[in-house]
Each structure stands twice: as C-alpha cells, then as structure tokens.
C-alpha cells in the first residue's frame, strides 16, 4: 500500500454529487504519491447502486475515478472486498498499480429502506426488518448468550465516541459526545441510538503497488501480509447467536497467511461494526477477548489498540467503512497519522444485513 486518502465523513455532503466526492478523493490519493493517473493499471470501485439511486452507477463515475479506457471493475460490497480484488490483481502480476475506492452518500436516501432491500422478500421484508432492528436482535442475543451486560455495550460506545472526537476526519457534532451515549434514545433495545452505526457521507481511496514500485516510492511501504473473507447465512436464524463465525473464519484465513498466531500479535486493529454489540463480537472473533468479554479490549493499557479512529459506530460511510479502516490502519503504520511506532495492524470490513459478510486484512511495515 503506497498511499491512501479519505474525505471528511460527515452528515451530508449536500453540495457535492457522489461523482464530486470520488474525483476529489482520487485526486487526493495521487497527490504526493509519486504516481499519476497514467500509472494506474486497474481501478476497483465499491458502492451501492441502491444507495446511489441508479443502476450500475459506476458507469457514470468513470471519468472522476480516472478509469477512462482502463480496466475497471465494480464490487457491490464494502471497499475492503474491493481491496482484496485489487491486491490479487497486483499480487498475480497483472497490474503494477491498482486504485481502490469506495464512497457513500446515504444522506440522499433512506438508510432503513436501503437495508430493507437486502432482506429476503417473502419472509422478512414485510416484517420491517432493517439495520436497526437487526442490530437490536443481535445485541439481545449477545447479552442473552454471554456474560456481557448492557454496561459493557455502553462502555464500548463511549470509547468509540471518545476516540472519534479526536479524529479530524469525522465532522464533529458539538452536541454529541461520549457522555451522551447512555442518555441517547433507546431505539432497538438494548441499544441506544449512539450505540448503532451512524451513516455518514464520504469517500476513501487506496493505492496498491507491486513490490518494485512500492520500494521505489517509499522507504516505508505498508505490506499486505494476509487477506481473508467469509460469508455467513443470510437469515439471522441460521447464524450462531451472540458470535460472528464468519468473522472468525476470515480473520483466521488472513492471520495464518501472515503467520500471526492471533490478533494479539498486532499493535492495532481497525474494525467495522453495526453496533457496539457487534463490535464486541468482532474483537472476540479476532481472538482479542473471550466470548462475552470484548469490552476488556477497550480498557486503558490494553495490549492492542482497538479502533483509534473511533471505528464505525460514530461514522459509517456504508460501503466505504471497511476501506476507511484499511486507510486508517495503513496510515498509522506508515507514520502519516497517530503516535507510537506500530509495525503490525489488522483491518476489518463487513457487508450485508447484520454483518453477514466479513473481510480481514493484515498489514506490516
């Protein structure tokens, strides 16, 4: 990974079109990278036609993506899955430089209606299942099936909002902070509104390059050491309650490729979550805590830094959230943001209703 960039994640980029967000972030990722658009062999873009309100929406974005007369492919999934595609293209030698981008403007539509379109139409859609009720059901299962309590879920969300307050790439809401989590509205019990992933507008872009190109461009390139992904059953009733088995499989796949024993071998992880309950389930699936004890990862002095950016609960640019995690993790390894000198990181993305699909990257400098 030789460069990455993101826009500010905000409530609404109401004066820009998606295409403007995309053009801006692609321009930003190239700036200072040592590469120009002519060096890019392949462009992989990730977004949602349903959120965009147009079919095969990437067709309208080609120019802004810098993909004119290039190999271009759309991944209708979180951007981290697009990064798997791009990394594979580079690793197998069919591209020297790959651009991955993901973007989202959920402010233009109804997020609940978007998630409703993901549901099974005969059995689930008519019942009004959406991302909020799914998060509530999964949190209820987590609390019922493990030792965790509501207090733990509050602590995780408070920590997320506290870290988000220090993230200059998240538009700050002066009236929202960690102290507001416990008094925010109960929207899908046991979850309160500030415990559920908050949709944001934004875009993110990452440049991946072959080893010779990366060594030429940087004395400290970030290496992709492992990738993994796995999909769980579509119906919640067919998944293991209180745990994210597919996340565990994806993480195992990435970490064994990287030669890591478990996620405690890395310095920092950036994870995606649909709520503070599923965030606990993710860190448990990564092996950072026993089932039901995910909250322990957020204690002061924890060995692995979890979500220094704040993660997805305060800022969820749907379809771009996982690629933002990769950007955050790699920028910290490269020393572009943050403190300390982390050398290994893990980034996690998810897709689908209730995080059906998981993707994990391991990185090293």
């Amino acid at each position: 990974m030789v460069a990455s960039a993101q826009t500010v994640l905000r409530d609404a980029w109401s004066r820009l079109q998606q295409v403007d967000l995309i053009g801006g972030v692609v321009s930003d990722v190239l700036r200072g990278s040592g590469l120009n658009i002519a060096d890019v062999d392949v462009v992989i873009d990730c977004g949602s036609d349903v959120l965009d309100g147009r079919s095969i929406s990437n067709c309208g974005f080609l120019g802004a993506m810098g993909a004119h007369h290039k190999e271009e492919s759309r991944v209708e999934e979180d951007g981290l899955f697009g990064a798997v595609y791009a990394t594979t293209k580079v690793a197998c030698g069919s591209a020297s430089v790959a651009l991955v981008l993901a973007y989202s403007k959920p402010s233009e539509s109804d997020v609940s209606a978007y998630y409703s379109t993901l549901t099974e139409p005969f059995y689930q859609r008519a019942l009004g299942l959406d991302q909020v009720s799914t998060a509530g059901l999964m949190a209820n299962q987590y609390l019922t099936r493990t030792d965790a309590d509501e207090e733990a879920l509050l602590r995780i969300a408070e920590r997320a909002w506290s870290r988000a307050a220090g993230n200059p790439w998240i538009e700050q809401s002066p009236d929202l902070g960690p102290e507001d989590v416990a008094r925010s509205a109960l929207v899908a019990d046991p979850l309160r509104s500030l415990q559920i992933a908050r949709p944001r507008d934004g875009a993110v872009a990452v440049l991946l390059a072959s080893e010779p190109v990366a060594r030429r461009l940087s004395d400290r390139p970030v290496w992709v050491t492992g990738m993994g992904s796995a999909m769980d059953s579509h119906l919640l009733s067919e998944r293991l309650p209180g745990q994210l088995e597919a996340c565990q499989v994806a993480a195992h796949m990435a970490m064994s490729r990287a030669g890591l024993k478990d996620a405690s071998d890395v310095d920092l992880v950036e994870v995606t979550a649909s709520s503070s309950a599923t965030e606990a389930m993710v860190v448990e699936a990564l092996g950072l805590a026993a089932v039901g004890h995910g909250v322990d990862c957020y204690a002061d002095g924890a060995q692995v830094d979890v979500n220094p950016s704040g993660g997805a609960v305060p800022a969820d640019p749907i379809m771009a959230t996982g690629l933002v995690r990769l950007h955050e993790a790699s920028a910290r390894l490269a020393g572009r943001i943050g403190e300390g000198q982390p050398t290994r990181a893990l980034a996690h993305g998810a897709g689908g209703l209730g995080m059906q699909n998981h993707c994990v990257f391991t990185l090293e400098v």
């Binding site: 309100g53 080609l62 233009e108 139409p121 005969f122 059995y123 299942l129 909020v132």
Partner: protein, 314 residues
C-alpha cells in the same frame, strides 16, 4: 423558475426522485407453499432427515447440507422467544416454534402481556388473508401456557407461485456545483454551460469537475451554442417503465456547437413517420425552448431540437 436557483448560497437544493420498481417474484415451492398455507392458518416448515433439522419458514434446500428437504411439516402455533427488540416500528422477535430446530423471525404484540427471552408465545392470525407473511399477524404471550406441541407431516399443500412486489425508493440527489449552475442557467437565461478541459481543450456538456479522458480539473465554465449537429437518432416505438414521452418519438444524440460531447435529447416539430426522410446524420439542429414560465431547471427546459431549415427552405 418557480423553486429558486439550485445554486442558492442559503440552502443546498436537491432533486427529489422516486425509483419505483415493479416486480413479480417467483416464490418457489417452499416460500410459495408457506405463504399459501398461512391462509389456511397452517405454519409450514421443512425437514432435512440428513441433518435431522426442521426449519421454519421452509427452505428449498437445507442450509447445512444443501440437499432438498425430505418433506414439508406443519408446526404448532406455539413456541418460545429466543431474542427480541423493541423499535419505533414495533417489536421483532426470533421465536423457536415447538418442534423446530431454527428460529422464526416475526412480530410480537405485547398487549396480552410482557414478553422476554424464554417466554412462551402463540400465533395470532390476521382477520383477512393477503397472501403474505403477515397473514400470521403476530405472536402474543401464551396465557394458557399450553404444553409444547410437535411438528407433523403437512400432507397436501397449496402453492402461491408468484407474488407481486413493489420497491419504492426515494432520493434527494445533490445537484453539486456543476449541475446546479447548468440547470440555473438553462431555466433563467436559456444558456447551456460546458466545462473546458485545460489539457485537451474539449468542452464537456454537462459541465463536470474532471475531464474524463485527461483526469485533470476542468476549472472553467464556458457557453455552448443551442445549435448543434445530429450525431445519431432512433425512432422509439416501444413503451417502457420510466419513459417521459409517449411513443413514437425520436431519441437523438446531438453535438452542440462548441462542445465535444453528445447530448441526449429529442428531435421533433414534424410528423415522426417522416423521420427517415427528414433527418440525416450530420444535419444541423437547434433547440426549441419552452416558455420561460414553464422552465424548471432541467434539460427538458429545451422542449426539443428541430432541424435547421436549409437556406433554400427559408
């Protein structure tokens, strides 16, 4: 223009649109039978003997082994809540029906009494059947606390083969700086704007931030003529969803003078049946604008394009 300029500095203006998609969904044996038998107040599941699992609603294949299920079974109307959540749209729960090995997602009505994980519940049927999962209206507290029932073979089942479905998705699309300005100028001044690429010097309509071919910022809006050249045309006879004109009409690609891009619009002003004789590729065309009072800041503020009469026709 009635709604004000879309580039207002006070408030970002949006284009409000609805994507309205009609579907006819094919149910398949499992969902089709499940929906049909709800109308008979029967809850169907499917049984996989390989995995010794009964799931409800039924599935056309076992999620564990992938095999087709052995038979449909009928489940009791009672079960136990395994998970629930309250939202402002009601209470959703996962319910383990007696005799099932997987949960059923459905609604809970708490009017009969409080329900939590572990509570016994029973089904309540809708007063009128609509051939949907809501023919089973909801589950409520089972006050009688009946002993758990068991699944048994369903026997003969009916089938709803297809279900009409409608997706209605609403959007508020941001115009952005370029389209906003384009539409303002169309509505207020009958001007057509393009973007000038500083590298290839092409003028691009509609205006945009980046030149598609060069990937450089365009930076400058320029006026484009409302006269142009017909690049391609086709007479549309077919009706389709989303059409804004009544067939027959002429779909045309027009290169406006001073621009390098093709604008999609309509050529009209004469009997469509004579299109083949009247029109030729490369012929000059010009915009016919709507009355200023009817302009709304869209490309349809140009009513249509018409052939420019040759000097001997004038």
């Amino acid at each position: 223009m009635t709604d004000g300029l879309v580039t207002s500095i006070d408030e970002a203006q949006v284009l409000t649109t609805t994507l309205s998609m009609p579907y006819t969904l094919t149910t398949g044996p499992a969902a089709g039978s499940f929906l049909f038998e709800l109308g008979n107040h029967r809850i169907l599941g499917s049984r996989c003997e390989v995995c010794s699992r009964t799931v409800v609603p039924p599935s056309d294949y076992c999620s564990r082994c992938g095999e087709a299920p052995d038979e449909f079974v009928q489940l009791p109307e009672t079960g136990t809540v395994t998970a629930l959540t309250r939202t402002d749209r009601g209470v959703l729960a996962l319910i383990r029906l007696d005799g099932a090995d997987a949960d059923l997602l459905h609604r809970l009505d708490l009017a009969k009494g409080a329900v939590t994980v572990g509570t016994r519940v029973r089904a309540v049927w809708a007063a009128t059947a609509t051939q949907s999962v809501l023919d089973l209206d909801c589950f409520v507290l089972d006050e009688d606390d009946q002993p758990p029932g068991t699944a048994h073979p369903a026997g003969e089942v009916g089938l709803i083969a297809q279900v009409p479905h409608q997706l209605e998705l609403e959007y508020q699309h941001s115009y952005g700086p370029h389209y906003g300005r384009l539409f303002d100028e169309l509505a207020s001044s009958r001007r057509i704007l393009g973007s000038l690429c500083p590298t290839c010097r092409n003028v691009l309509v509609p205006p945009r931030e980046f030149c598609d071919a060069c990937f450089v910022r365009t930076g400058q809006h320029v006026d484009v003529s409302d006269h142009g050249v017909l690049q391609a045309f086709s007479v549309i006879h077919l009706e389709f969803v989303g059409q804004t004109r009544t067939p027959p009409y002429i779909y045309a690609e027009i290169v406006l003078d001073g621009s390098a891009t093709r604008l999609i619009h309509t050529v009209a002003g004469f009997d469509v049946a004579t299109a083949a004789e009247r029109l030729s590729i490369g012929m000059p065309v010009r915009a016919v604008w709507k009355d200023p009072a009817d302009c709304r800041g869209t490309l349809n503020d140009i009513d249509y394009f018409e052939p420019v009469p040759s000097p001997d026709q004038q």
